[in-house]
């Protein structure tokens, strides 16, 4: 993936995968977690056996800790989950961990911290050689054991970020969940990692926190020195090391344009999303991390229309406990209150949970065992998430939403599990909102076609346009050969959306739309005219959506929608819509209007990327 290019001035250019939007420029901070002042000491002969004893005591102490965690998990989530910790505990008894460590201490007469670290390094290298997602997840287990044992040996374990004093671009091999927790946005200008795709932890975090990031820059750690300066282009996935004057000034211009554009939009932030004739719609944010609450509010979100919970499941090498989930949901609910928070239950393919379920990659993951189907097959896991959501509902305006509903049976089954979760909480006297609204994500054509039946049994609909478009048109937009066919303005998609809106309104439930489609000015005016009650997009897009809504009257939008819906082809639809846009909006469009494929692609949602990468 990395291509390297050196110019006469000594500037080097590396290509990676764009992970977080924006441009960062500055000095670098090389983050090297395995180099945290780990000391190396030679031992006198008499000190060798006491050193071994010290190691065994540390292992025993970690064993006790893990047993306590295991008990806690067992009591909260049941034995299946607790067994994951058993595997972790077994690493402490593993001859391939203990024997080489002790041999190194005895033969080379070095301190045990160093010997232990070296043993694990060798194991990590062997794991690296195996191309298997399950194995990659095990590396997090090794790191966990390493951290626990080293801290028992008295080494102060701290993140390398503690040494990051000034603003800098962080260069790392990869970032672990614990690194990420410690990231200080004020000091981290940008992130460059050697490994990872668009669903790596670093990428998810970077997008969520709007930190410019490029991942998958294979040789970054060796190519970039602590004394270098870099420019990181998160839009294009480029890293310039020691940029020349021309590149620097080009990026300075780009950055200042970007700032001006944003400042123009933020003036609109505090105004209501109201049409010229006084019709209010709601604008809400789609987020992946609780930390995004701040930026959502800063961009004028009136709630969280879609909180994707997948992140919790992707960051650790075992399932998040009910309490961990509750803590995340509760904090977010409180932060957003009195605004609403829609929590979508797990929307992952089984392959992404292979560390627990050990599922195999599927031939056709989009049509496969994923989202609500997976949750219904793992009731214990599903109930734990629902209990966490319900508990959070006592602390804010929380709503629960089921992804990928494709039939009424499935919805009823999911609601039955929700009822079980309610009963469990009731029986132990835990507080929750008994009227916590329940919604269905409409993203499969079959759900749109039975929307009337579904509407009778839920409190709200949320149309997931990314998936609805791809299922309706049978187009994987990740496939370059067919991506041009991916178009939310296809008459078939529009007719399905209309069916859903009408069905919702017949049953007096609100219909919102989740996805970047709302941020396309053409689609936005159409959806407004079709009667969509609210829009939910990534926080950064909210000011644009508001500006669009505020430049139309509802009656005009309705007339435009009626004309557009009568068109036979997607080109005719788009032409009608483009012509209807006021000059002020049209002028702000990129040249040639908005190309559906590229516009959408730049904002691939997590689940789309997840499913795509697993193909």
């Amino acid at each position: 993936m990395t291509t390297e290019d050196t110019t006469e001035s000594g500037m080097q250019t590396y290509r990676g995968i764009q992970a977080g939007p924006g441009i960062a420029s500055g000095r670098v901070f090389i983050h090297n977690p395995s180099d945290l002042g780990l000391d190396y000491r030679r031992l006198a002969d008499a000190d060798v056996e006491p050193e071994i004893d010290r190691f065994r005591d540390a292992l025993a102490a970690v064993r006790v800790d893990l047993q306590a965690i295991q008990e806690e998990v067992r009591s909260k989530l049941g034995g299946d989950h607790a067994q994951i910790f058993e595997a972790l505990a077994m690493m402490l008894d593993d001859p391939s961990v203990i024997d080489p460590t002790e041999t190194t201490v005895r033969e080379r007469k070095v301190n045990v911290e160093y010997a232990f670290w070296q043993t694990l390094q060798q194991l990590r290298r062997r794991f690296d050689a195996i191309d298997n997602e399950y194995i990659l997840a095990r590396k997090a287990d090794i790191l966990d054991i390493e951290t626990r044992v080293l801290s028992k040996l008295g080494r102060r374990v701290e993140s390398g970020f503690a040494q990051l004093a000034d603003k800098a671009v962080v260069v790392a091999h990869d970032l672990t969940p614990s690194d990420i927790v410690q990231i200080d946005r004020k000091r981290v200008l940008g992130i460059i990692t050697e490994v990872g795709g668009s669903t790596s932890h670093a990428a998810i975090i970077a997008r969520g926190l709007e930190i410019p990031a490029v991942v998958g820059v294979e040789s970054a750690m060796s190519a970039i020195d602590p004394s270098d300066r870099v420019i990181l282009d998160g839009h294009r996935g480029l890293v310039y090391v020691n940029p020349d004057a021309e590149t620097t000034s080009r990026y300075e211009r780009e950055a200042s344009q970007h700032r001006e554009n944003r400042e123009g939009l933020t003036s609109i932030r505090d105004l209501p999303a109201e049409t010229l004739d006084g019709h209010r719609v709601s604008v809400q944010a789609n987020i992946e991390l609780p930390e995004e609450a701040e930026s959502s509010l800063a961009y004028g979100a009136e709630g969280i229309g879609l909180y994707r919970t997948e992140y919790l499941y992707l960051t650790s090498s075992w399932l998040p406990t009910e309490d961990e989930q509750f803590a995340a949901y509760e904090g977010l609910a409180k932060r957003m209150s009195p605004h609403s928070l829609v929590i979508r239950t797990l929307d992952l393919g089984g392959d992404k949970l292979s560390y627990v379920l050990n599922t195999m990659p599927e031939m056709n993951p989009f049509m496969g065992w994923r989202a609500i189907r997976l949750s219904l097959a793992h009731r214990g896991l599903f109930r734990a998430q629902l209990r966490a959501i319900l508990r959070a509902s006592a602390h804010g305006n929380v709503k629960v939403m089921f992804p990928m509903i494709s039939s009424l049976e499935e919805l009823r089954e999911a609601k039955a599990v929700l009822q079980e979760a309610r009963n469990e909480l009731k029986s132990v006297g835990v507080d929750f909102d008994p009227d916590c609204p329940v919604g269905a994500m409409i993203e499969v054509p079959s759900a749109a076609l039975v929307a009337d039946e579904l509407a009778e049994e839920v409190d709200f609909f949320s149309i997931g346009t990314n998936d609805l478009v791809q299922y309706t048109l049978a187009v994987d937009r990740g496939n370059e050969k067919v991506a041009y066919l991916f178009d939310p303005l296809h008459p078939a998609v529009l007719r399905l959306i209309r069916m859903v809106v009408e069905a919702g309104h017949r049953h007096n439930i609100p219909v919102t739309l989740c996805g970047e489609m709302a941020a396309d000015p053409c689609a936005g005016v159409l959806l407004l005219g079709m009667g969509v009650d609210g829009f939910s997009t990534s926080p950064m897009k909210l000011p644009e959506v508001k500006r669009l809504i505020r430049s139309f009257s509802l009656s005009d939008a309705q007339a435009i929608a009626e004309t557009a819906l009568s068109k036979k082809t997607r080109q005719e639809v788009r032409k009608t819509l483009l012509e209807s846009l006021p000059a002020s909006v049209r002028d702000a469009l990129p040249e040639g209007g908005v190309s559906p494929a590229s516009e959408e692609d730049a904002h691939l949602s997590l689940e789309a990327v997840v499913a795509r990468e697993s193909v």
């Binding site: 067994q83 008894d93 593993d94 961990v97 062997r126 050990n358 195999m360």
Partner: protein
């Protein structure tokens, strides 16, 4: 020294829990137990090793035992790999 092939039957392969069960069983024998898949040889008493096999359903694992209880160890380990782990 004894050797025998075993085929993974558990439809989810040897993931975390089966790995733990295999290692626990192997650790009960005095004999050295080696599991071999293609050109990867691992210690059957090592959880890291067994995980490294990344054995999915249908994978063939060669079991090698060597020591005082090698016969019963071989029989038990082959049986364990071929069991459904429930």
């Amino acid at each position: 020294m004894l050797e025998q092939e075993a085929t993974v039957r558990n439809k989810l392969g040897i993931h975390a829990r089966p790995s733990a069960l295999l290692v626990q069983r192997a650790s009960g024998f005095a004999s050295a137990i080696t599991l071999i898949r293609d050109d990867l040889e691992v210690n059957g008493k090592s959880i890291m090793g067994v995980m490294m096999l990344a054995a999915e359903a249908g994978a063939n694992i060669r079991v090698r035992t060597e020591g005082p209880d090698e016969e019963v160890a071989l029989k038990e380990m082959v049986g364990a790999i071929q069991s459904e782990f429930d």
